[in-house]
Symmetry: D2
């Protein structure tokens, strides 16, 4: 075993960390109080700087203009960018575009790649992923009401989706819809590209989440597809293959998310320790001299370290053993890291006292928005049950004493 | 021991519960998306209904127009009203006015009562309480930078306060300021009434808290007192007696807060159980059929029951043994109930999945704003340390085996 | 509501506490290192003292020589006795005899009362309750392998039981066996009195529990019933009524257990605080000056207070509303109090450091043996699921917002 | 980063695992019910088998007959052996001898090595480490009452130690005693070899721990040193260097302990999953079909994985960066892994129900004895405070936003 990071990556990470500290974190007060839409011109400038530094799209294929980092290396990048909510966006590796890029790269036709993949990697357009439905449990993707029915050379799509993140301003959506209702249950749905200017593509609203509807990339769309007609050539991958592709997409996506969360943890941790050092309870008595605060710090340090190593090990397993073999590891980190993040943010907020509740630091934003981590991409409970069933099966018939 | 509630109170509580359900909860969507300021006319109508039902100002003295309920009975009222964030406001028993009314009633001069107490109880004006300072730990009130210096018949006040809740639109503030710097440390500060139109009373901003600065009653003010001059007749209670009065005020205030939190718990609990019953994971398989969700429900039920009984016992102790004797009980409930509330809200959010993150239910609001409960009126850590020191002292010299 | 304890009870409790401190706790070192069997003569003397003080059998009927305390009052007694593992035994209200006495009192024939109830209350004989089976889940009493088949005027009993606590030296067992396999599932088993000298009553072993098989009252028997023949007049209560009676018995039994656990909590708490006061980390720096230890103390104080009030409220509910109505409360306290106890004992052990692992204090005994509380009389998980199902049902069809 | 284990180590680990399963686990029932002393002849045979397999003393120097594995590789061995309480003993790498061997190897004179190190590595004699004192906090080694005063060519030792593990039957103790009371506080004590047959070496008792005093290697001695005279040539390392050496010894020792705990975790986990698969709640409904049990399994899997990676990373850090640099990592794992172990064992016990309380499985033994892990080698609280102080210092003066 070897826990060392390559020199090349250390260099890249050093550049990223410095950029985050100097260029992005100072933008946070604006991010916290203004509309994302209004920040876009300023963010565009930062993106240009990143491109000039040749750090753009670190995880995306070189042929389309990315850096082509492997899973493990991008995991480290994702950690560094996760320290600020605008990190991934400015470096061109933000969700949901990152996942869509992966799908288009693996399954897109040459035409689809030209039209959608290339400008997406370049950051010229944005996209969204439209799977979750209002009335159906995200945890059970077999139950899906949205349909795509063939009509001539087209599909006609009807359905009600939400949490189509970043739909506001997206050029297109990748929509999951039932195309083959008579297939075996995991083979009924397909992915279809739907340009957002298609008639019948109705962005009902940006869902108000934790007090804000947001805008642009920083929003979660509710979309009503009403007789939305697209050519069958917009089918992405094989018909009925939607779930299989989605599953594929989730693996690396979870690694990226989890490392982003680790980045958030380290940010919250730094703020917590700094506050403990500088907030005086009485002259000469910083908050950090109190043992309960010390316990917060040490427990957070241990949990972050534990969580971080688990994610890196899962990335390694996925690269060396493949998606299927690493499925358990990936499920484990999904709920474990989300849980650690919530605890660390909560402690950081507590250590900041009244200040922690305000938008004068990033912590209150993290507290309320990152709560979603225990829900999206499979709620804690779903992962726990699914991992356990897998483990129970592995042990069946074994003679254990 | 007898855990029964009197018939009279059962009747009152029944009326309140019905009013909350029919008149107030339907206003929540507006509360969640609009400015409080804009809701005021509508809320005024509800207040009139409450007055007609003779349920106005349940905890305030009869002679000023309240119901004069004792601490235990108002605790039960506070629970019922706590189910919605606008409950206490509509019934005329909202913080910080409730506490200010108590202080004015106990310590106000006849002139102060005429001018401030009477219209406050009637709900004609609002007030704020200006104690917490930006640069000093709220947990150590001995360290206070704000000063009130005598000049002729006046005080000249200088200082920087924040978390002066509801300052926006308040008629006056009760300001805590050091008047007697040479006194023993707990006898240095005094309470002084400062009308908000006094020159030098500068409301810098409504602090943005969890993404919103709020307005009117639903806001937290940052106030800069700059050579703010008020007559010495505005002194409230004895000079140097500020901390003693504040301490007195906190006891019953904590009971009210804690029972409001219990109300919040029961609301979140109801929503959680309802969701568990109605959200289908698969046909015929409600979320509530899952054992992890069942554990959420039972653990919440136990913790709410435990917390509720503790608060009622503390109210009883305060009434029968007095403030001083009940100090430990009151500190215990402060941190314990706040902790239970956070857990229950968190579980309710989790059970709602993606919906729980939205403002389509009240839960996301509770999740982010009630987080403050573990901080204001003494952070968890402060209470834990202070209770323990008291207990350790009680055991000193005892022969324990 | 009124949380006061009657003067009469305060007097009784004062006497008991003093007796426990002076007469019983000093016997613990012997209890921890010797066989229970060898302590019996000494314990008999203490029982005589208790009888002389007229505190014998506090919960048992006056007509048989007990004090006839009601549920709430005995709950307080049980708390006071719970401070030491030999408390209930010395006062004649120990499990499993206490439960058997209740059953015999409610369902015994005059002959059964003469023969078994009277000497049991007097402490002249002991008994055991033989329900749990090795191969079947205690949580699902419908699945039971032990049978009692009629043969002439007798029952012939066959089955394999364990956790028949105190079987070693018991005069008789109350055995649960299937008598009516064709009945509805909750009406198949009956309770039958089986004297321990009946041929076919085979005490296989005292089960080694946490390193000790124990002896006498302080043991848990594994019993093999092999063609064990008893007259049908030994049937206790109606045929097929075994589960219903067992259910009845469990309600008050859980109250007693829970209050015993509260007693254990207060004992562990006292030892913890005392240790924190007296163990010096450095000159003038007691362990209790450390904030993490202070947090242990305050959290324990809160949880014990919470748990205690819940049990008393459940006792009150059972007395005023009846067993059925109080079922939820009783299930709640079962798992909640057991959980609190484990946490408190664990903290007390931790505060004692290496000493806490030794048998030089009672804590290590409590740590290992009271772990069973989360298992017997229904494991945590069983109670949580069952309470939740009950609550979910209550909410069905309700319109909740 | 690379998480792969070398082929050589995989082979070794495979042999060890098989040996543990086939030869050692079957001896556990005897271990649980008999005296260790009586098992020694049988264990000696197993040791011979290990020696023949050339797996003896895996962590000890080749020149003395060990395998000379490095820290990381022995960590993996320690995990495999940790699955059974007798694993390390049978493979000749048990505490406290392992630590003493390290000290003797690094600091012993040629004579000391001949006389003590050689037979110790060979398993011909045993030893103990005599540092912890009854009256002084182990967490503050500066406060030590035991003294070694020079008299002629000898030291005369006086003091009261306990938790001198395995003193019963040890050939010698390494005793920590104050030799230089006027030195700076961390330079006052020295390590001195004291043969157990020295007059004045009084083994007062094997301390009864969790109900058992134990015997032989499996015991914890209380030793009174009364004018115990040994030649000054028995000084181990430099005079006054005792703490420094002890500190050195603790680093690798904690790695070994932590990996042993991971082994315990995996054992408890296996038993838990197996039980969940095989215990039927109703026909066709294994315990493992319940979601709460599934949560136990998944949470345990995540925590064990997290803990395991942390220990391996700490081992790597210690090897690549040195003891000092890895101090934080080692402190983190000490409390984190101990905590995970307690949780995993507790869940395993709970899943076993009544069986879990008995000595019919290894779980109850692990539950009660491994509780000590959160205490010895620095209590949780001590590590948490010390890590936090280190972190706080690292952040001092940093500009964090």
């Amino acid at each position: 075993m070897d826990f060392a990071i390559s020199e090349k990556m250390e260099t890249i990470l050093g550049m990223i960390r410095e950029f985050v500290d100097k260029e992005l974190i100072p933008m946070e007060p604006e991010f916290l109080t203004n509309e994302f839409r209004d920040m876009e011109p300023e963010l565009e400038k930062k993106r240009d700087m990143v491109k000039k530094m040749e750090l753009w799209a670190p995880n995306h294929p070189k042929e389309y203009g990315g850096m082509g980092l492997n899973l493990m290396d991008h995991a480290l990048v994702s950690e560094a960018l996760g320290r600020t909510p605008i990190g991934h966006y400015v470096f061109g590796c933000q969700a949901p575009d990152a996942g869509n890029i992966e799908i288009l790269n693996l399954h897109g036709t040459p035409e689809q790649k030209d039209k959608y993949l290339q400008p997406l990697v370049e950051g010229k357009i944005r996209s969204c992923f439209s799977m979750t439905e209002v009335e159906q449990p995200g945890s059970n993707p077999v139950i899906m009401d949205t349909t795509a029915v063939k009509d001539g050379d087209d599909y006609i799509i009807n359905g009600h989706k939400w949490y189509s993140s970043s739909a506001d301003g997206a050029e297109f959506a990748i929509v999951m819809a039932v195309t083959n209702p008579d297939n075996a249950k995991y083979m009924q749905a397909s992915m279809i590209i739907v340009p957002s200017d298609t008639p019948g593509f109705n962005l009902v609203r940006n869902i108000p989440v934790m007090g804000h509807a947001g805008s642009g990339w920083s929003s979660h769309g509710e979309i009503l597809y009403q007789n939305c007609r697209v050519p069958q050539s917009n089918l992405l991958g094989p018909e009925g293959g939607g779930f299989v592709i989605a599953q594929e997409r989730l693996g690396p996506g979870r690694i990226h998310h989890c490392m982003r969360w680790i980045g958030i943890c380290t940010r919250a941790f730094d703020l917590m320790v700094h506050r403990a050092n500088t907030r005086m309870m009485a002259p000469g008595q910083p908050l950090g001299s109190k043992q309960i605060i010390q316990a917060f710090i040490s427990e957070s340090a241990a949990e972050i370290q534990a969580a971080r190593l688990m994610v890196l090990q899962a990335a390694w397993a996925m690269e060396t053993k493949g998606h299927k073999e690493a499925r358990k590891e990936v499920s484990l980190i999904k709920f474990y890291v989300a849980g650690v993040m919530q605890k660390v943010i909560d402690r950081a907020l507590q250590v900041h006292g009244g200040l922690g509740m305000t938008d004068d630091t990033i912590i209150a934003f993290l507290f309320r928005h990152e709560r979603a981590a225990r829900i999206y991409d499979g709620a804690d409970e779903v992962h726990k049950a699914s991992i356990a069933r897998r483990i129970l099966k592995e042990y069946e018939g074994k003679n254990i004493r």
